[in-house]
């Protein structure tokens, strides 16, 4: 996890879908992809269906879409998908045997906590995906890990099955704590202020995590999202403002970014609320 990744092949590859299972409101897409090779938790891949990528709502999708690698072992990768638009819809539709374009692994992932410090993993919604592979890696390395996951509603709670021993929070109170996952985080940090935080989820949640960790002086690694055209630093499209001025490219400077590098986690200026 801490070694410098070897780098993806400089071209996309066509791989086969092995399964596409529903997990509540989500889909888990599995693909046979030995070339994904060694990767860091938190890295992602750009995905596109080989057949009929296009022709959806507003004649899209056209570009590939970014997805965290949720797991990779024995040459098989899995992705957790939420259908939010024409690209994710097409991917959710794929069946075993269909072909998928994959470019990855891309970006830089999470860094292990200093020896002896507990990792608190905070996930929201589909953002739990990179925490699954992170939990595997940290547990394999023998570290202490706590998992806190927040979901909007009952339909999304089954997503928690992707990780082990998770404590839940839900907006609608259908499972676990009725409220925000950041409430759970505050409680954990009170009992273990030495912990290190790893978070991925919607911008509002990440900003909550960032603000809490800044206030409490806790190191936090945030896996960000941004609209991406390329995923490998070519288009300069996926930027977020960096503390102190200028911008970071989420695809190559992240997606995992040290919270100290950000003034705040912003929703894209134009993104619908």
């Amino acid at each position: 996890m801490s070694a410098q990744p070897a780098g993806a092949r400089p071209g996309r590859r066509a791989v086969r879908v092995t399964a596409n299972e529903q997990l509540g409101a989500y889909n888990v897409l599995r693909v046979d992809d030995p070339q994904m090779g060694e990767l860091q938790a938190g890295q992602f891949a750009m995905l596109a269906a080989v057949e009929r990528w296009g022709g959806g709502e507003d004649e899209r999708p056209f570009l590939a879409r970014a997805f965290s690698v949720a797991r990779h072992h024995d040459g098989e990768s899995s992705y957790l998908l939420e259908d939010v638009g024409p690209g994710t819809r097409r991917l959710c539709e794929l069946a075993a045997g269909d072909e998928l374009w994959v470019l990855g692994p891309l970006g830089s992932g999470f860094t292990a906590p200093p020896q002896g410090r507990r990792a608190i993993l905070v996930g929201g919604g589909v953002g739990i995906a990179p925490l699954a592979i992170l939990q595997d890696a940290l547990s394999a390395a023998g570290g202490a890990v706590s998992v806190l996951l927040g979901f909007r509603d009952e339909a999304r709670v089954p997503g928690a099955g992707l990780l082990r021993d998770a404590e839940l929070a839900t907006d609608d109170g259908s499972a676990g704590h009725h409220g925000l996952v950041t409430d759970l985080l505050e409680r954990e940090l009170r009992s273990d202020p030495d912990a290190v935080v790893y978070a991925c989820g919607p911008a509002g949640m990440l900003e909550g995590v960032r603000a809490i960790c800044e206030r409490d002086g806790v190191p936090a690694q945030l896996a960000l999202e941004a609209g991406m055209a390329c995923g490998f630093g070519a288009c300069f499209g996926c930027v977020v403002p960096r503390r102190g001025g200028g911008y970071l490219r989420v695809c190559v400077d992240g997606p995992v970014i040290d919270a100290a590098e950000l003034d705040r986690v912003e929703l894209h200026a134009g993104a619908p609320a």
């Binding site: 570009l63 609209g227 055209a229 977020v240 200028g246 200026a269 134009g270």
Partner: protein, 298 residues
């Protein structure tokens, strides 16, 4: 398939469009594999300005039907940063896979794309690029709004000829003028560039475009920069028309681009008179698009 362009010998006719491939970031992402599999026969830098620029606030991207609207805003380190930090790296490892079929490892020539909003700025940029050995040619991006008219500098033939002529003395290197497509008479602009002393013209840059934030009442631009430029297959028929019209009117070589996704599309650009073909948006979908297209032309 090797091709001569302004005195440069290229392994094949496929290069990248400025601002659509960052060789340094790509090496970070793909590692040493890229050194022997660089997808283009020449590498065009993104646009360099005299001073550093952070670029436009996000969002910078909007996916449109068979296209992409971008409002990147030309982020770059500025001339000094480019020369000191980027150029040495670019000179270091770019080599061409197809060229090395003969066993030799060829350097991929670097074309530096520059933009300035005044004559002095442009002169400073071109003069500075004239020196480093690693820079094989200079591309002038004239899709820069004139501060007075708001129109692209390159949209007015007379103005364009003056600008190019004023720079011609500043460099002995090949000077490529990247035309703006947002002009009434693009072939006339190409002729003006030729008359001013350009060694080649390249086109098309993105078409002026915009997008609104979805799902809200009232008009609110999606892009942080307000408006943007349209690229990708959506514009290919427009690009082909402009490239054909320009190639029919100038004697200097033409670099054709706009929506090229396949060898068949590249072949069309060559058929209407382009000497080189640049690939932009398609590289976002597949970073190896350049080499795939070049191989398909064999």
């Amino acid at each position: 398939m090797s091709v001569e362009f302004c005195g440069l010998r290229l392994a094949h006719p496929i290069i990248n469009g400025s601002g659509t491939f960052d060789a340094i970031a790509a090496r970070g992402a793909f590692g040493a594999a890229l050194d022997t599999a660089f997808p283009f026969a020449a590498y065009v830098s993104k646009t360099i300005t005299l001073e550093p620029r952070a670029g436009n606030p996000p969002p910078r991207l909007w996916e449109s039907p068979a296209g992409l609207v971008n409002s990147i805003g030309l982020p770059n380190k500025g001339l000094a940063g480019y020369l000191a930090e980027d150029l040495p790296q670019l000179g270091g490892y770019l080599c061409d896979p197809l060229a090395s079929a003969d066993g030799a490892s060829h350097r991929v020539p670097v074309i530096t794309n520059v933009m300035g909003s005044t004559g002095e700025e442009l002169r400073a940029l071109v003069e500075a690029c004239d020196d480093p050995e690693t820079i094989a040619a200079i591309e002038l991006n004239v899709s820069c709004p004139n501060v007075r008219t708001g129109l692209d500098i390159g949209a007015d033939p007379a103005q364009l000829e003056t600008v190019v002529a004023g720079l011609r003395e500043s460099t002995g290197k090949p000077l490529i003028v990247k035309l703006t497509p947002n002009a009434a008479d693009v072939p006339a602009c190409a002729q003006a560039a030729e008359a001013g002393g350009a060694d080649a013209v390249s086109l098309i840059n993105t078409l002026r475009a915009m997008a609104l934030a979805p799902g809200r009442a009232g008009a609110r631009p999606w892009l942080g920069g307000g408006t943007g430029g349209l690229s990708g297959p959506a514009i290919r028929p427009v690009a082909l028309a402009q490239v054909a019209a320009v190639a029919a009117r100038v004697a200097i070589p033409v670099v054709g681009m706009g929506g090229v996704q396949s060898a068949a599309h590249a072949r069309e650009m060559l058929d209407v008179g382009a000497t080189l073909v640049a690939v932009g948006t398609e590289s976002f979908r597949d970073p190896a698009a350049g080499v795939r297209i070049a191989a398909g032309l064999l």
